[in-house]
């Protein structure tokens, strides 16, 4: 009964979205046609769409996308790997954490844009400059998140682990990592977006090859190339959405067991029941707060959600903060570090 109306609502939603898109594009075209937007300053919608369509068939677009992705992937990989390693080491040692956290927060607060000129001086407008910048930008917020995740082990879980005689590498892999996983996932989600933005900044302003560079070239070539310039802008946005959406899907699978993957909006469901925990030893009975993001420790087994079509994946990706994030950061650039409460976060 409800399923039918839910399906109807699904169609209605898609319909509304198309309407909104059509209205926005129509408005754009209308403004251009009416001369409100001057033709020599800003291309019309039809021109831009045509340019976009043309580009899709040319290799220039795809090579630019490839170049952007190169910088993005390399920088993300290096930055994330370093952050995971360093973050884990620091997080597991209380003394190290307390000594170093100030320095990390300090560097995190430096706007990445300030580092760009340094990168240019060191490496010029090259791929190295791009991924170095991306790695730098990704590292600081992510290392904090990793520390935070590693340190957020529920004291009850920790004690149970000790009592069960689980130690060393097994403890690390089976208890600490899963416990930290949601925090790390949030950090990575933000990192994925940050990496793209910094990468494109490096191209646009630093001159590295890729989408940003194309935008710059088209701009410098004059009004006749403006349609192409905006076509590339659209491409940049779409790329961002695709990358973030792909990550959201991957995250859903990796963290399917975590209670944060339930529906984001509980305001229609009434009160969630208290969550018991299905581990050998019964662990914390603390009820999870209404907001997703309850006990990040070992939690309820949930059924694997249906495969999310990427278009539907936008639904998930729209509210990226639905995944657990104790301090609630949702953003491409930097993130909110829980600097105070390194212990368990309820």
């Amino acid at each position: 009964m409800l399923r039918r109306s839910a399906r109807n609502r699904g169609w209605l939603t898609y319909g509304l979205r198309l309407v909104v898109l059509a209205a926005a594009l129509g408005l754009w075209q209308g403004l251009s046609a009416a001369g409100v937007i001057r033709a020599d300053e800003f291309p019309s919608m039809s021109q831009t769409v045509t340019a976009l369509w043309d580009l899709v068939t040319q290799s220039a677009l795809w090579s630019a996308v490839g170049q952007t992705l190169e910088g993005w992937a390399l920088g993300l990989l290096i930055g994330a790997a370093a952050a995971l390693l360093v973050g884990t080491l620091i997080g597991m040692n209380g003394f190290a954490y307390r000594s170093v956290i100030g320095v990390i927060e300090f560097f995190k607060a430096i706007p990445v844009i300030a580092i760009l000129p340094i990168g240019l001086v060191l490496w010029g407008a090259t791929l190295t400059m791009k991924f170095a910048l991306v790695a730098f930008a990704v590292f600081w917020p992510l290392v904090i998140q990793v520390c935070y995740g590693v340190r957020s082990l529920d004291p009850v879980v920790r004690d149970t682990t000790t009592v069960l005689q689980v130690r060393g590498p097994r403890k690390f892999l089976m208890v600490i990592m899963p416990s930290a996983a949601p925090f790390i996932a949030t950090g990575l989600r933000v990192a994925v977006a940050v990496a793209l933005i910094v990468d494109i900044i490096a191209e646009l302003i630093g001159g590295g090859s890729g989408i940003g560079e194309r935008i710059l070239l088209a701009e410098n070539a004059g009004p006749s190339d403006y349609p192409q310039m905006y076509a590339y802008v659209v491409v940049a946005g779409i790329l961002g959405v695709l990358l973030a959406g792909a990550f959201a899907v991957a995250e859903r699978y990796a963290l399917h067991w975590h209670e944060s993957q339930r529906s984001a909006n509980e305001q229609e469901q009434g009160y969630p029941e208290r969550r018991g925990l299905t581990l050998a030893a019964s662990l914390s009975q603390r009820p999870s707060p209404g907001r997703p993001g309850g006990d990040p420790g070992l939690a309820v087994r949930r059924p694997v959600p249906h495969l999310v079509v990427l278009v539907g994946g936008l639904q998930v990706a729209v509210l990226p903060a639905a995944v657990v994030d104790p301090e609630g950061a949702v953003d491409p650039v930097g993130d909110r570090a829980g600097s105070r409460r390194a212990e368990h976060v309820a």
Binding site: V112, I113, I118, L319, A329
Partner: protein, 210 residues
């Protein structure tokens, strides 16, 4: 050494402050609006997300063609780029408010509109503030980027000018000033946040001990 760099600072900071404030107000307002109207939210969510993920610096050329190269362009650009993190965090924070709190407010006789201001926004405040903090970082970046290309003053202009004229001392001083801005802004924000959200941190601190 940092003298000339600092002189350019006040112009940039002016843009930053105005743009950021607009971004905050509009971001929270739109976030609350989208929270209230489900159909609006569903219909626009992919586009909101698209704009959120779009690297804002690519819009510099567009902003320049539409608004010239003066105050308006920079403020509009900063505001536009910085509003998305706040918007999405506001929306998500409001959606995440505990149903028990909402039921309580109904029982206590708080009107629906009153609930938004008395219950939903305060409850969502920690996440809204997180969004505002991210918005600040975005705003700083756009502050610089908006001056990079065609500008005649501001710290971004100063840095790019110095770099292109191989004035490395000048460039470094500009970078240092910029780094300091970022750090100071962050500290100010955290201080303000600790005051405004003291109840949140107090409650959190206690939770861990129960």
């Amino acid at each position: 050494m940092t003298g000339p760099a600092r002189a350019e600072l006040s112009t940039s900071l002016e843009h930053l402050v105005v743009g950021y404030v607009i971004a905050g107000v509009v971001g929270i307002g739109l976030g609350a609006l989208l929270w209230s109207w489900r159909y609006l939210r569903d219909a626009t969510s992919p586009y909101v997300y698209f704009l959120y993920v779009l690297p804002a610096p690519v819009l510099v050329p567009a902003a320049m063609t539409l608004f010239g190269i003066g105050f308006t362009m920079k403020v509009v650009l900063i505001a536009f780029a910085a509003l998305w993190p706040t918007l999405l965090n506001t929306l998500d924070g409001m959606r995440g408010v505990d149903q028990v709190k909402l039921d309580t407010s109904r029982v206590l006789g708080v009107s629906p509109l009153g609930s938004v201001f008395r219950v939903v926004l305060p409850a969502a405040a920690p996440q809204i503030v997180a969004g505002l903090r991210n918005s600040l970082q975005v705003a700083i970046i756009l502050m610089v980027v908006s001056e990079w290309e065609a500008s005649s003053d501001g710290i971004g202009y100063y840095i790019v000018n110095a770099q292109q004229s191989f004035d490395y001392v000048g460039m470094w001083s500009g970078i240092i000033v910029l780094a300091i801005i970022g750090i100071v802004a962050n500290l100010l924000f955290v201080a303000a946040e600790n005051r405004a959200l003291h109840w949140h941190y107090g409650a959190r601190a206690v939770e861990g001990t129960r």
